[in-house]
């Protein structure tokens, strides 16, 4: 394309960790380049080695990691051959990095101003005053309204989005030639993520920095990058311009990644998601040939498993590279899958679980002599219905009260006001310990974090069997048999029962947790973000499992999530929550098409879609939600709303506008005007 030397070039780089037990190859032979000012996205799932690549560029691999072969050239200089002083000259000045989890990346006992000022003072020897001016300027660029005040803050006094913008400002203040971002928006809410990504786009262009953007999320990569490299087991299996790769993925793994994602606009009634079967090979046992063979539906005996698979450039393309021996044979990509499970025809629309004016307040902890502090209002009048056999999804960003809602339903918290009825029986005020055995059996939960959902001290089968004993009164031998049966229901072999959680993968642990929830043969299961911390391919399998179980058993599901695409796929009814209130509720097809509540509109617009064609302007919400201690008198969303109509939004609680099919929107703007604004 251009003859300028690349900013960064990997030349057959081999990255290893040497342990006493031997050498672990994280990346056997990695080559790619990033041109000046270009943005390359590096995509891969857990364990693909993408973070190691990032830290290798900084030559920061710990005492065990090593660049064991090849060269990493930054502006023509071999990183591995640099002296300590030269390396320091590059770190932070020529190459800067933005990390995931901004809170822990910032020094908690130093003001953010000082942390920003350090960079120019260190590298350019400027005095404190000059550094201060530079920092202030950078904060203005990073969209901080009052930079002087921000300078004096400590990291814990900022929101997650603000922290990440500080880290980005800190990276760009030295005007680096290359910016490395390692999962910079993972863990941030979608609306915050959209703001951060927009900022990255803007600043990168302005400062003419090249960008290496590392992510597991194809959607964010599509939004920010020019080119894309897909990493599997430390090897780039496909690389090309964003347009080429998304339009015509050639590697089976890339196709798998795209296929397993639910897209906004698809639902479980159309077709199941296509998870990638199997698990990535351990870096301890790297197979010869193509590493993806065990999971590949196109794999072909000896051809794929022997020797080194060459990387070829697709004919007629501009640098679309594929590392697959059958790249030219496997045919065009069709985004289609198997047949749909037959949707359960619901004759009766019988409410199973219902909440009315449900409110939950937490007393803020007060010291021994503390005055009574105002409570945290986690839920402020929630009216929702879960019909038998359907899925009710609750979406919203962190802090909106969706998890509290789940915990109140499960009886882990009790309602402060309002009522919760299960088959007509009032349960909102009853903690789970006080619920009758029959009631506990009817309603079970699945939790978010696979790392903590199973007790690491107990074998997987124990948790399931114990649940069967407690909830159904089975004897020990029957409970053991029942546990094995349930494990097979969730697609696990019986020997899993004897394994400790540390020997299971995240997806397997979540399957065991589902089996445990099913042990009492419940009517309803409340699942709190059950797939949020799983890789996309695993997430698809769990989502499929949930919808299969639902179809087979007529299970009713309350599904809490922040991921709109998953919700769109799985839900029958959707409730959008903001600051403890349901701002929009209705059948899934009604909520995801206009008219929208402005917040729903913003969420949908911010959701990263793996679709480079989608270039509509995004709605960027300002600020962060108000505190749940001082809930606004008027509309909870007024302070951030892009369609705020005036004072009435701040002073009057908005009316609930009921539309056809039970669709409700909580807004002062008449529903027919709540169509997307032309951009």
């Amino acid at each position: 394309m251009n003859d300028e030397p690349p900013v960064l070039e990997f030349e057959r780089v081999r990255l290893t960790y040497s342990l006493r037990a031997g050498e672990i190859v994280v990346a056997p032979d990695l080559s790619f380049r990033i041109a000046r000012g270009e943005a390359l996205g590096l995509v891969g799932e857990s364990g693909s080695g993408k973070s190691t690549v990032a830290f290798a560029i900084m030559r920061y691999l710990g005492s065990l990691g090593r660049i064991a072969g090849g060269r990493i050239l930054f502006e023509g200089r071999d990183i591995a051959a640099l002296g300590e002083a030269e390396l320091r000259g590059i770190r932070g000045r020529r190459i800067a990095m933005v990390y995931q989890d901004p809170m822990s990346s910032l020094n908690p006992v130093m003001t953010v101003g000082r942390q920003l000022m350090e960079v120019p003072m260190l590298h350019e020897g400027v005095n404190a005053e000059e550094a201060r001016n530079r920092a202030l300027g950078m904060l203005v660029e990073a969209n901080f309204a009052d930079p002087a005040a921000i300078m004096a803050r400590y990291p814990h006094q900022l929101s997650g989005g603000q922290q990440q913008r500080i880290v980005i400002a800190m990276a760009l203040i030295g005007k680096p030639a290359l910016l490395i971002m390692d999962e910079p928006t993972t863990g941030l809410d979608v609306t915050v993520e959209a703001a951060v990504l927009a900022l990255v786009q803007l600043l990168r262009r302005k400062h003419d920095s090249a960008l290496l953007f590392i992510s597991h999320n194809l959607g964010t990569v599509a939004q920010v990058c020019d080119r894309l490299a897909v990493l599997y087991g430390g090897e780039i299996v496909e690389e090309g311009s964003i347009g080429d790769v998304f339009a015509e993925p050639r590697h089976p793994y890339t196709r798998g990644l795209l296929d397993c994602l639910p897209r906004l606009g698809r639902s479980k009634h159309e077709r199941p998601l296509k998870p990638i079967p199997g698990r990535p090979a351990s870096p301890l046992a790297r197979p010869s040939g193509c590493g993806f063979v065990p999971r590949c539906s196109h794999a072909e005996g000896v051809r794929c498993t022997v020797g080194v698979i060459p990387t070829i450039e697709l004919p007629g393309s501009e640098g679309h590279l594929v590392r697959c021996i059958k790249a030219l044979e496997i045919g065009a990509w069709q985004q289609d899958g198997g047949s749909a499970p037959t949707p359960v025809e619901k004759s009766s629309r019988e409410p199973l679980l219902q909440t009315k004016a449900l409110a939950k307040r937490y007393r803020a902890s007060s010291g021994a002599f503390g005055r009574e502090r105002p409570p945290v209002r986690a839920l402020n009048g929630v009216d929702l219905v879960l019909e038998r056999g359907e899925t009710l999804a609750i979406v919203g960003e962190s802090g909106c009260g969706k998890s509290t809602f789940a915990r109140v339903l499960g009886g882990l918290e009790i309602a402060s006001e309002g009522e919760v009825t299960l088959e007509g029986e009032e349960i909102g005020g009853t903690p789970v310990q006080a619920r009758s055995a029959a009631l506990k059996r009817k309603l079970q939960m699945v939790f978010q974090n696979p790392e903590s959902t199973l007790n690491p001290s107990h074998a997987a089968g124990y948790s399931v069997a114990r649940a069967a004993r407690r909830l159904r009164g089975l004897g020990a031998p029957e409970a053991r048999r029942e546990a094995e049966r349930l494990l097979s229901v969730v697609g696990l072999p019986p020997e899993i029962a004897r394994r400790k959680p540390s020997q299971l993968s995240g997806g397997q642990k979540q399957r065991v947790a589902i089996a445990r929830a099913l042990a009492g043969e419940p009517e309803a299961v409340v699942a709190d973000e059950p797939v949020s911390s799983l890789d996309a391919s695993v997430q698809a399998a769990i989502v499929n499992l949930l919808s299969e179980i639902q179809a087979e058993r007529g299970l009713s599901l309350v599904f809490i999530s922040h991921d709109l695409a998953v919700v769109r796929y799985l839900a029958d009814h959707v409730a959008v929550m903001y600051l403890g209130k349901v701002v929009e509720f209705g059948p899934v097809d009604a909520v995801f098409v206009p008219p929208f509540h402005p917040y729903t509109e913003a969420l949908l617009s911010a959701a990263p879609e793996p679709d480079p064609e989608r270039h509509g302007a995004r709605i960027i919400l300002e600020g962060s939600p108000p505190s749940a201690i001082e809930v606004p008198k008027g509309c909870p969303f007024a302070s951030r709303c892009h369609r705020k109509i005036g004072e009435i939004c701040d002073t009057e609680p908005p009316p609930s506008q009921v539309l056809t099919g039970g669709h409700r929107i909580l807004c002062h703007i008449p529903a027919q005007q709540l169509m997307p604004l032309p951009v």
Binding site: Y60, R91, L122
Partner: protein, 312 residues
């Protein structure tokens, strides 16, 4: 800030009340009556009864406790049976001696253990780290009296460089400074082993934090990273522990004082207990608890100053 002080003052008062009551009750509830304990086993029954009358020991416990609190608050700590002088005449002298020992030791322990702890923890697993870790574990394992015996056998018995006792009597063969060397050495060695391992653990933890990586990848020198970014974070946890050492230094050095016949507070308490000198025990217990709670307050205060997340 006001709330903080108020909270701690209340806790101080509660603790002092509980302790004084406990000590008072202990002397009451143990077998044998108070007057007998005060007079010793060789007094006649008649003498015991006279004392009981004279001191009003036949009245209810609670009344006498209230009276005792009143007397204590007015500065009257009673008379020591063992030393036959008012308690306050002896207790403050002894405290002064112990404070000298404690101050010198503390002045050595703090900088040394911070230096060693940070040096060990900044590169976890290095040879320096392993050495310091092992050394401090061993130092903390040897009881004070054993350190005393080991040091004395070398420097007193074999080499004859230092005196084996520290009675703080001037004009003898050894100047007071020389007398102090061994007691201080024993305390510093024993206590430092513990403090060093705490500082090291905190430093190791801090060096693993992502913000240290951020600092390194800003292009800072290792030295700058350690001094500018790690040090303050690494001090947050140990500072409380370091200040708690004051507590140990004032009340826990009884062993060292015994080894070297040092006329300090701890040895006074030991004698008081062995002779069941009730007035002295009661006063000494209050002083000890006062010191202990004050060091806790100091520790919390220092914690607040170091960690902006705690400040309201």
């Amino acid at each position: 800030m006001g709330r903080f002080l108020l909270k701690h003052l209340v806790f101080l008062c509660v603790t002092l009340t509980v302790v004084s009551l406990l000590v008072f009750l202990l002397t009451e509830l143990t077998p044998g009556d108070v007057a007998r304990k005060e007079l010793g086993p060789y007094a006649t029954q008649e003498q015991v009864e006279i004392l009981t009358k004279a001191e009003g020991l036949d009245r209810p416990v609670l009344v006498r406790y209230v009276e005792y609190v009143g007397r204590t608050l007015s500065g009257d700590l009673g008379v020591s049976q063992r030393f036959r002088v008012p308690v306050k005449d002896i207790i403050f002298d002894r405290l002064e001696n112990t404070a000298l020992l404690a101050a010198v030791s503390f002045a050595l322990i703090v900088p040394l253990s911070m230096l060693l702890g940070v040096a060990a923890g900044m590169r976890e697993g290095s040879v320096l780290d392993r050495t310091i870790l092992l050394g401090s574990a061993i130092a903390a394992s040897v009881p004070e009296f054993a350190i005393g015996v080991f040091l004395a056998s070398v420097f007193v018995v074999t080499l004859g460089w230092l005196p084996g006792t520290a009675t703080l009597q001037p004009g003898g063969r050894w100047p007071i400074a020389a007398q102090m060397v061994l007691p201080v050495a024993v305390i510093v060695l024993f206590d430092m082993g513990y403090v060093v391992s705490m500082v090291r653990a905190s430093m190791v933890d801090v060096m693993r934090q992502p913000y240290i990586r951020t600092a390194v990848l800003k292009g800072m020198r290792f030295r700058q990273v350690v001094l500018g970014h790690a040090l303050r974070n690494a001090m947050i946890n140990p500072v409380t522990i370091i200040l708690l050492q004051i507590n140990y230094l004032v009340t826990g050095v009884v062993v060292v004082e015994s080894v070297f016949a040092y006329p300090g507070f701890g040895r006074m308490m030991l004698e008081a207990s062995l002779y069941k000198d009730i007035a002295l025990i009661e006063a000494g217990a209050l002083v000890s608890v006062f010191v202990a709670v004050m060091t806790q307050i100091l520790g919390d205060l220092a914690y607040m100053l170091l960690d902006p997340r705690i400040r309201a």
